[in-house]
């Protein structure tokens, strides 16, 4: 599984990454966390609100820092 982050690579939003890693750890799942700055990719997802979290090619959260529990819910739904 790949989790992509858009507009979240500038040092701030550390808690976003921390929450995702924590959620993965609690669910005992593994995923690659990618911070993408690729323009075509950003346009493909139509993401214009950031920070955005994309799980398995679907925009799950945008303009929002989800809690560990919310990420866990999203991950187990996709799982």
């Amino acid at each position: 599984m790949t989790i992509k982050l858009i507009g979240a690579c500038c040092g701030i939003y550390q808690s976003l990454i921390k929450n995702i890693s924590e959620a993965l750890r609690q669910l005992d799942m593994e995923a690659k966390i990618e911070k993408t700055t690729n323009v075509e990719e950003i346009m493909k997802y139509g993401v214009i609100n950031f920070p955005a979290v994309i799980i398995n090619d679907k925009v799950v959260f945008s303009e929002y820092i989800p809690t560990v529990k919310e990420i866990k819910d999203a991950l187990s739904k996709k799982g």
């Binding site: 858009i6 507009g7 979240a8 690579c9 500038c10 040092g11 701030i12 939003y13 550390q14 808690s15 976003l16 911070k35 700055t37 323009v39 075509e40 950003i42 346009m43 139509g46 993401v47 214009i48 609100n49 950031f50 920070p51 955005a52 679907k58 925009v59 799950v60 959260f61 945008s62 303009e63 929002y64 820092i65 989800p66 809690t67």
Partner: protein
């Protein structure tokens, strides 16, 4: 009260003798550090809460309905409250263009957003007082508005990469949380993230600043960077360009430089160049626009900053 606490800590806990250079320096360091961090915690938190009431969607919707000029003014003002980081510049730019916002208006936003940010403002307010902070905001707004209007008039849409205009439909999947709990969570995370990012720069900045405050003679720098030196402003602007990520540490440092004779206009120009002209931002914008447009953008803002610097050297 803060000052008495700083003195008490210096004299009673660290047992440093009063009326010495060392005690001056230590008091300065403790006082400024506590003051700045208190301000950072409170103000960033409040700004983040306010921000959560103004979704990015809404900003685009409002701006897409405005014509040039009013659009530029509004865009610059939205720029103040919107968070900006270099890598959010691309999705932001794409979103604006997709929403049909004119290029000039988009640029007003792109100039104001990094230049007038809450961390820079808190530090300016904490170290220089509200007047300088206000002057900074107003001049920043004027530079953003005028640069945007100029770029709008130049009709440089062809310098934006073609594919940006191709994909017109946006299909944002939104999982929006608007409860108070979510807003407070967001504000809490955001505040901590920012402080985690900048605290070390601020401490170093205040540390060196405190040392200069205590040990460098007053007016030492006046002969090199006082208002009488014509090259001080453009030089300060140039030096500011590569310093973007260290903006937080720079304010405490330059605030003591003014004590030592650097003039206020030069300091303002320097600060604006640090926040408003950023090399990493230019590099990343290259993905969506031609180099020529970036140069126009940098030159317009740069000239605006230099003029502002000269203006305030004349009047302050």
């Amino acid at each position: 009260m803060l000052e008495s606490f700083a003195k008490w800590l210096t004299f009673n806990i660290f047992s440093i003798k009063p009326e010495t250079l060392l005690s001056e320096t230590v008091i300065f360091f403790i006082y400024d550090t506590i003051k700045i961090f208190l301000l950072l915690f409170v103000i960033i938190f409040v700004v983040s809460i306010i921000r959560s009431f103004i979704p990015q969607e809404k900003v685009r919707e409002i701006l897409s309905k405005k014509k040039q000029f009013y659009g530029n003014i509004l865009a610059a003002m939205f720029g103040i409250i919107t968070p900006f980081c270099t890598c959010s510049a691309i999705p932001l730019f794409l979103g604006f263009i997709e929403a049909g916002i004119p290029l000039g208006v988009t640029f007003s936003f792109l100039v104001a957003s990094p230049m007038i940010n809450e961390v820079a403002l808190i530090l300016l307010f904490g170290m220089f007082g509200w007047k300088i902070a206000l002057i900074y905001v107003v001049s920043g707004l004027i530079i953003a508005i005028i640069s945007g209007i100029i770029i709008g008039k130049l009709k440089v849409e062809k310098l934006v990469e073609d594919f940006v205009y191709k994909n017109k439909e946006s299909h944002s999947a939104l999982v929006q949380k608007t409860s108070w709990q979510a807003k407070i969570n967001y504000a809490k995370f955001y505040t901590l993230d920012i402080i985690k990012k900048v605290w070390i720069f601020i401490l170093i900045g205040i540390g060196i600043g405190a040392w200069i405050h205590g040990y460098v003679p007053t007016d030492f720098l006046a002969q090199y960077a006082g208002s009488g030196r014509w090259y001080a402003v453009p030089l300060a602007t140039l030096i500011g360009i590569p310093l973007y990520s260290n903006a937080a540490g720079i304010v405490p440092l330059i605030s003591v430089l003014t004590e030592k004779g650097v003039s206020m206009g030069t300091v303002l120009a320097f600060m604006m160049a640090v926040t408003g002209l950023s090399l990493p931002e230019f590099m990343i914008l290259k993905k969506v626009m031609k180099t020529k447009l970036i140069l126009i953008f940098a030159a317009t803002v740069g000239v605006g900053i230099i003029l502002t610097g000269y203006l305030f050297n004349l009047i302050i």
